[in-house]
């Protein structure tokens, strides 16, 4: 299977789009046939649709990659699909409001909350689905695990109001972005590729000072995601140092101090 087949050429694709034609190659169908064997397929489709797809793909061959493809350091795949995805994605598609009930930590339940859904987010780290929505009361942005949703249904909110709230959401999200400037300690420039790979999952900008052979990475992320950046920084250890971002710096001091206390090499109250 050559992923550079001329049939995938960009001019062909854009002309076909202009002509309103759809095509699928044997490569794509083989891939689809392979993933349909995943347990997630039975949650994604009704039994009838699944049977229909399987029969359509009957003449095609599946991709036989996995016997020779090993995945390492992968999180346990506890959830790929969620039964609510189809329903909620349609509410988003049709710009509907929602009413939902959900439980939070412990057993507290919030019932019949009015809101506007805007995205469904999958965490590659936790391997779980979340609903991102705007709660009408107090205008708060919410992130609710799909597993915690007890009940959800469409609600009557006008398209205009939904659009206003979506715009408001967009602005709020934009305003919550924060920047952290990180230096790659030049001693570890030989590991540059690895270090940059570790940062490649963030929105970032890299700068290079040729005279000092110094690389800096400016990571831009929503405030609530700082914990994940911190775990990456601890992951990279002494290869990187935070230059700007007071909260992140403070947390790095805290982590190193507390870790040393754990190891019993630092008195608990020693000044930093």
């Amino acid at each position: 299977m050559n992923p550079f087949e001329k049939i995938f050429n960009y001019q062909i694709i854009s002309r076909l789009d202009d002509a309103g034609a759809f095509m699928a190659t044997a490569h794509e169908r083989a891939w689809l046939k392979t993933v349909l064997a995943h347990p997630a397929a039975s949650q994604a489709f009704t039994a009838g649709t699944l049977a229909k797809l399987e029969s359509l793909l009957e003449p095609d061959e599946a991709i036989d990659a996995h016997p020779h493809l090993i995945e390492k350091a992968r999180s346990r795949e506890k959830q790929v699909y969620h039964p609510l995805l189809g329903r909620i994605r349609r509410l988003i598609l049709n710009r509907h409001g929602i009413r939902l009930s959900y439980s939070v930590r412990g057993d507290r339940i919030f019932s019949d909350q009015l809101g506007v859904p805007y995205k469904l987010e999958y965490s590659m780290v936790k391997r779980e689905w979340y609903l991102l929505w705007h709660r009408v009361r107090h205008h708060t942005l919410m992130k609710t695990k799909l597993d915690k949703i007890l009940f959800i249904t469409g609600a009557d909110i006008s398209h205009e109001r939904v659009d206003r709230m979506l715009e408001r959401t967009r602005l709020t999200l934009e305003s919550r972005k924060t920047e952290v400037l990180i230096e790659i300690i030049p001693l570890y420039n030989r590991e540059l590729s690895r270090i940059l790979y570790a940062f490649s999952c963030f929105e970032k900008e890299v700068a290079y000072d040729a005279d000092r052979k110094l690389y800096t990475v400016k990571v831009c992320l929503p405030g609530e995601e700082i914990e994940y950046l911190l775990s990456k920084l601890r992951f990279l250890g002494k290869r990187v140092r935070v230059l700007e971002g007071d909260y992140v710096k403070k947390r790095m001091v805290e982590a190193s101090t507390k870790a040393l206390e754990r190891y019993g090499v630092l008195e608990a109250n020693e000044e930093v």
Binding site: R15, A21, S193, Y208, V253
Partner: protein, 436 residues
């Protein structure tokens, strides 16, 4: 025509994605081992493709290319880098003809001579018009890649386009299919073919009146989006493994400064290449979720060999080896990597670490994470505020960053050497911030 290689484009894009604008033209070209002239040409070509593929890209706003293909959270489901796989160059006349044939078949089934008539009628006069032989060659190609198929057994054959996915499914089913393809392409590997299918389905939905934004309700956090660049070589390598064939390639260790060198077809740009010609028998491909990187593990003269896929260029497949010998080598490898956190084949050692729960009313996210990411390790002891995790791994280098990422919630007990290393590292890290 020699087989078109995308090594240069792949290396180019990888560097662009990883360093996103850190280098100027000269620095960039030097690190790729190409001339500034080649750099400019490659950039121009990639820009053209991106522009044609994603028409919404505002070229006139003078956005930098790196900026344009930069990873964004709110676009995480739509991989910008996919355009690489659209880069196969094609003569204008051929791309016109192929799309015309497919568009014609989209309406109804047709024979080769009917299609020839279509081309005669619709191709612009300034392009050389095809003859029936050319059309038959095109049809054969389209049949090979599975886009069309012969409809009947008798001559003259009628061809039909294979678009049953959209014709046999209802609108609701099609939306479910699109979602499924989106989720699977984004969470499973390999994914390039899935992304291509997703792209086709998305265009179809948008043509049907759905709004682009609304079609894409999914986000994926945090994703190593550059992983799809390496899928360029993946199937060549997997096929070599399936066929038990050796591979030859020019290898650039990611630790060296240069990551690509031109193939020296033009003496003007001739440079000393510092890649190394390697021959190996590939046995397994490993994808490392920790960094989003790919490896090839093989057998060479010195025994087990490990290569980063991103360093492999000019990959060629060679002679097959005997099955028994191949299986023996593969079994040996599997035995050696059984305890590899990633790919380390060093001596197995047991790591024992105490993890501390966050306490209070918080859910125990430390334990959740250890259970989720701790691979084959086990919790062997548990108390109210902490638990002990044990794992046998080959060497401690690869697991160390993961343990360290828990910060003060993890205390390594054994081996003592690893414990000492972590103490030294925490001291160093703390010293970085002494003035804070």
């Amino acid at each position: 025509m020699a087989k078109e290689s995308f090594d240069k484009e792949i290396q180019f894009l990888r560097m662009l994605v990883l360093t996103s604008g850190a280098y100027n033209r000269q620095q960039f070209a030097k690190r790729l081992g190409i001339s500034v002239n080649t750099f400019d040409k490659t950039l121009r070509r990639l820009k053209d493709i991106v522009h044609a593929t994603y028409q919404q890209l505002p070229e006139e706003q003078g956005k930098e290319f790196a900026e344009a293909i930069r990873y964004r959270y709110d676009d995480s489901a739509d991989p910008m880098l996919l355009f690489l796989f659209r880069a196969k160059s094609l003569k204008e006349s051929e791309s016109r003809r192929l799309s015309l044939v497919l568009a014609a078949l989209n309406g109804r089934s047709m024979t080769a001579s009917e299609l020839l008539d279509c081309c005669m009628a619709d191709l612009p006069a300034d392009l050389s018009l095809p003859d029936e032989k050319t059309i038959r060659k095109d049809l054969k190609y389209l049949e090979e890649v599975g886009v069309i198929q012969k409809e009947n057994g008798a001559r003259p054959f009628k061809y039909r386009i294979r678009n049953e996915l959209i014709h046999e499914l209802t609108d609701e089913e099609l939306l479910d299919l699109y979602d499924f393809v989106d989720v699977m392409a984004n969470t499973q590997i390999p994914s390039v073919q899935g992304y291509l299918l997703r792209d086709g389905l998305k265009k179809h939905l948008v043509r049907g009146g759905a709004e682009k934004e609304a079609v894409e309700p999914f986000l994926y956090k945090y994703h190593y989006h550059s992983r799809i660049l390496d899928e360029a070589h993946l199937f060549t390598i997997l096929n070599a493994i399936l066929g038990r064939r050796k591979m030859k390639f020019l290898y650039f260790s990611p630790k060296s400064d240069k990551s690509y060198a031109s193939q020296n077809t033009n003496p003007l740009f001739e440079r000393e290449s510092n890649g190394k010609l390697e021959t190996t028998l590939p046995l397994k491909v490993v994808y490392d979720h920790q960094y989003g990187r790919w490896y090839v593990l093989g057998h060479g003269r010195e025994g087990i060999r490990k290569y980063r896929m991103e360093g492999m260029t000019q990959v060629e497949t060679g002679e097959p080896v005997a099955q028994a010998w191949f299986e023996e080598k593969q079994a040996e490898l599997m035995d050696r990597i059984r305890y590899s956190w990633l790919i380390d084949t060093g001596r197995p050692v047991t790591v024992r670490a105490r993890f501390f729960s966050p306490g209070g009313s918080e859910p125990d996210f430390i334990k959740e994470r250890v259970l989720l990411q701790g691979q084959w390790g086990e919790i062997v002891e548990e108390s109210e505020n902490s638990f002990i995790y044990e794992i046998t791994v080959n060497g401690t280098q690869e697991i160390k960053p993961w343990l360290r990422s828990f910060g003060s919630s993890c205390e390594v007990q054994e081996p003592v050497q690893l414990r000492r290393e972590l103490i030294a590292e925490w001291k160093e890290i703390r010293a970085y911030y002494e003035s804070v």
